[in-house]
């Protein structure tokens, strides 16, 4: 009992720590991120002023880095759904220390991704026409509906389990931090006192959301894939695109979660709670998803390559041997096969090994989104030379700004909000204690 109380105290202190003290490095990081975002805003101003002609996008290749970023970020937003909702439904108890981060990645990645749809518009004001003249037959409208629904649901799903932790912050930090923050915790904690009625009501809300958010998440990335698959392009004529994109989304979501966990663990000394075991479990999940992706690729290319309909040759040539071969083989070998190999060698299942695999996966998935977008549009529909696309400094700047925006939101979040689900972890610890099981943090080391 003694060790348990101290475990709980350590957990609480660790979670409170980022909100209490701010180092100089923190300001440096925020400053750098803000500078990148400011530069991106300037680039966006140039784009608004002069039009999309300042980008490499032209009539034939009209989607490039921006749509790549959109698909990539919508993809990693699946981290929260999988880790949090699916594992919650499956009652996998090891998930509790990582759920909060996963859920937060979901919300932030969605905001970043949705932003890039607007960035891709030469006339962003015309986005309103989707509301005014949207047709339900249009994949664009499906996207707007699905992303809005998913964003709302994921914010709610992030917020609901955080209420008790916010109350904990309110009680422990109230009056000791800046006024606006005390007020914020008070507001967001919505009078949570931890009564049994409140617990059961909150539990009902979470139960609904954890089930509802799974089909919503699947629908979102399916619809994103349909933006491609519903367009008459040889490279995108695929019935498995929906499945393929959802699998890729979960895959890159896990990788992003692993990277973020490793960073936060280092910066905020979460070693006791985020153990090697957590990384290994997520690593195994990632390797399993890599297998699924590998299978999807084989299924996709073998069926198309066996029939080899007119037009397939161009697609296969540019992907397998010509212009896009470096990207494709990096994705296939570096992003799918090597991570599986890394996870199958016991000696490599260290945190650094798993994080390297995750970095490879994220890079590969970004590259994959890029070549799916560009190779599909590149193939000529008339007897032309293939179109070419090279992003300009404006696109690279705004892309960098997108990553910075994502990183900034994460950085600010961990400063203000509880980064671990203290309430759930403690609750689960109580269950374990009752069952005379060792504490999760201690058991696995």
């Amino acid at each position: 009992m003694e060790s348990m109380t101290s475990w709980r105290e350590r957990l609480e202190e660790t979670t409170l720590e980022p909100a209490r003290t701010t180092t100089r490095n923190y300001y440096v990081v925020v400053g750098v991120l803000l500078a990148v975002i400011a530069w991106a805003l300037f680039a966006y101003y140039v784009q608004l002023r002069d039009g999309l002609v300042v980008t490499g996008l032209r009539d034939r290749i009209s989607w490039g880095l921006y749509i790549t970023m959109f698909v990539f970020f919508i993809g990693i937003s699946h981290a929260g759904t999988l880790i949090s909702a699916i594992l919650r439904v499956a009652n996998a108890t090891w998930r509790t220390p990582v759920t909060r981060m996963a859920e937060f990645i979901t919300a932030v990645a969605l905001m970043t991704g949705a932003l890039f749809v607007v960035v891709d518009l030469g006339r962003p004001d015309r986005f309103l026409l989707v509301i005014a003249h949207g047709r339900w037959q249009s994949p664009i409208v499906w996207d707007v509906v699905a992303v809005t629904t998913y964003l709302t649901a994921s914010l709610l799903y992030l917020y609901l389990p955080m209420i008790p932790d916010l109350a904990f912050f309110r009680d422990r930090l109230g009056g000791k931090v800046a006024r606006w923050r005390s007020g914020l915790y008070r507001l967001l904690a919505i009078n949570w006192k931890g009564t049994d009625t409140q617990k059961s009501q909150l539990h009902s809300s979470i139960s609904i959301m954890m089930i509802l958010i799974i089909p919503i998440a699947v629908s979102v990335h399916t619809v994103v894939s349909w933006i491609f698959a519903m367009t008459l392009r040889e490279a995108w004529n695929s019935a498995i695109f929906g499945f393929f994109f959802v699998a890729g989304a979960i895959f890159s979501g896990i990788a992003t979660l692993i990277i973020m966990m490793a960073l936060l663990r280092r910066v905020y000394r979460l070693e006791e709670f985020l153990t090697e075991k957590h990384f290994q479990y997520l690593g195994f999940l990632m390797a399993a998803m890599a297998g699924v992706m590998l299978y999807a690729n084989i299924s996709e290319y073998v069926t198309a390559g066996f029939k080899f309909e007119e037009g397939s040759e161009f697609i296969f040539r540019q992907l397998f041997v010509a212009e896009f071969a470096p990207y494709f083989w990096f994705y296939l070998i570096g992003g799918l096969i090597i991570p599986i190999l890394l996870m199958s060698i016991p000696r490599m299942r260290t945190i650094s090994g798993i994080v390297s695999a995750a970095v490879l996966v994220d890079l590969a998935m970004w590259v994959e989104r890029y070549f799916i977008v560009v190779t599909g549009l590149r193939a000529p529909l008339l007897p032309y030379e293939p179109a070419n696309y090279a992003p300009t400094w404006v696109e690279w700047s705004i892309t960098a700004g997108g990553f910075a925006f994502f990183a900034l939101l994460v950085t600010l979040f961990v400063k203000v909000f509880p980064i671990m689900a203290v309430y759930e972890m403690v609750e689960e610890q109580d269950v374990r204690a009752a069952a005379r099981l060792p504490a999760s943090g201690e058991a696995v080391t």
Binding site: I131, V141, I190, S204, L212
Partner: protein, 456 residues
């Protein structure tokens, strides 16, 4: 004799039959009836009344219906079908015309020994679109309502979850309403007010608004693009099988712009007939066709009427009258002057190339036939050699072929038709190439080659 008589009779009968209305001879009479005017796509009935000369109806007679028709440039009569007359001696045949114009229907009835005919002329006018593609497969019950329903249900569940979150905050108030937290004591006014803002309620309210908005977009969506087909508006004009929307050709202007000014009208014709599509909007020439500004009126007439291999179409006098061709020529002359002001075309304006100064050139610098061929092949052979007349194919043809005698007189550049044509000093025809003179240096190579004896 008998045979001839029969033929004449038949011809007479047919001549009568060609007239609308009653036709008859001997005792069998057939009358045709039907509308005089219909529109394209309208269903109509051709009626045939067969009776004897005294008015007695003839039941059981077979009436054959024919109509004139054309397909792929071939016109003739087609047999539509045959109908047996009823007890009143009447046979009807349903018909739909899909092509505008004056159509003739012919009816024929015979009793084995004689054949009688009647004819009917029907004017078919423009009508509405009669062929529209039905895109997609209509699956009963499937529609926007299903998507709307799914989205509405999802949002309803989410709002229920959010409303339970509202209960969380309310429950506490009811349970210990009197409790004051330490913060309240520290700052009774500000904190307390903030505490009254119910985040859960606000969030739920925002969600309700979003849900209503999204569902409204979906519900409204079938009406946003007039795809309910309002009156007089069709989104998909797929095929018009009449002359209401004749293909206007590649021209850019209408007859209405003709002014009477030869140059302006010539330009209008030049645009309207599609000349500008290949020859450039200012007749300046392009990759697809040369500039025609140096063409003489006679040459223009020849080329325009007969066309050229390689794409220049032939225009018949019915499409382009000689008078219009005159205006086009006037425009081309004007265009020639305009172009001469903008870009130096040929050697107009620059010093004329002397044909005499380099008559005796250093042997080393004297160009050979290969050099000349290098200039003639790309510039001349696309027409010459393929289109008759002078040919630039080989040495002999360069020197001697052509309708106007030898093109090259060795040692006499000025007297050579080839040089005259290149310099514009010719006594007939126009400067060559029609797209504009060769460069001065190219012409000099040819002049020098001829001056030096036009060696092989």
């Amino acid at each position: 004799m008998m045979r001839r008589f029969f033929t004449v009779t038949l011809a007479a009968a047919m001549a009568i039959g060609a007239l609308p209305g009653v036709a008859g001879a001997a005792h069998l009479v057939i009358e045709a009836s039907g509308p005089q005017e219909v529109i394209v796509g309208e269903e109509l009935e051709i009626g045939a009344s067969v009776h004897l000369a005294d008015g007695t109806p003839v039941p059981g007679a077979t009436v054959v219906f024919f109509a004139d028709s054309f397909f792929a440039g071939v016109s003739g009569e087609i047999r539509l079908g045959a109908v047996v007359t009823n007890g009143l001696g009447v046979a009807t045949f349903p018909l739909v015309f899909s092509v505008r114009g004056v159509h003739r229907v012919r009816l024929e009835v015979g009793d084995g020994t004689e054949t009688q005919q009647a004819g009917l002329t029907i004017g078919v006018n423009n009508g509405p679109q009669i062929v529209a593609s039905e895109a997609g497969v209509e699956i009963p019950g499937l529609g926007s309502w299903l998507v709307t329903l799914v989205i509405a249900v999802v949002w309803a569940i989410m709002i229920v979850a959010a409303s339970w979150m509202m209960r969380v905050s309310r429950t506490h108030r009811e349970e210990d309403d009197d409790t004051t937290t330490p913060e309240d004591e520290q700052s009774p006014n500000g904190r307390r007010r903030m505490g009254r803002i119910n985040v859960a309620a606000i969030a739920t309210g925002v969600m309700v608004l979003l849900a209503v908005g999204l569902v409204a977009v979906l519900i409204r969506s079938p009406d946003t693009h007039h795809n309910l087909d309002p009156e007089g508006y069709s989104r998909s004009p797929v095929a018009y099988l009449d002359a209401a929307y004749v293909y206007p050709g590649p021209g850019l202007v209408d007859d209405a712009v003709l002014t009477g000014d030869a140059v302006a009208d010539g330009r209008a014709q030049f645009l309207k007939l599609g000349c500008a599509g290949c020859h450039g909007i200012d007749a300046q020439g392009a990759a697809s066709a040369r500039s025609p500004v140096f063409a003489t009126r006679q040459w223009l007439g020849t080329v325009v009427r007969t066309g050229l291999p390689g794409g220049m179409p032939a225009y018949a006098a019915s499409d382009l009258s000689d008078a219009d061709l005159d205006t086009i020529h006037a425009f081309l002359l004007e265009a020639r002057d305009v172009l001469a002001d903008e870009v130096p075309v040929g050697n107009g304006g620059s010093a004329p190339i002397s044909t005499t100064t380099t008559t005796v050139a250093g042997a080393a610098a004297t160009p050979g036939f290969a050099d000349v061929q290098g200039i003639l092949q790309p510039n001349c052979s696309s027409c010459h050699g393929t289109f008759g007349g002078w040919s630039a194919a080989d040495y002999d043809s360069v020197l001697n072929s052509g309708d106007n005698g030898p093109a090259v007189i060795p040692g006499d550049p000025e007297g050579s038709i080839l040089v005259q044509k290149l310099l514009g000093t010719q006594t007939f025809g126009s400067l060559m190439p029609p797209a504009g003179s060769l460069s001065d240096s190219d012409i000099r190579v040819i002049v020098d080659w001829i001056a030096a004896g036009a060696a092989r």
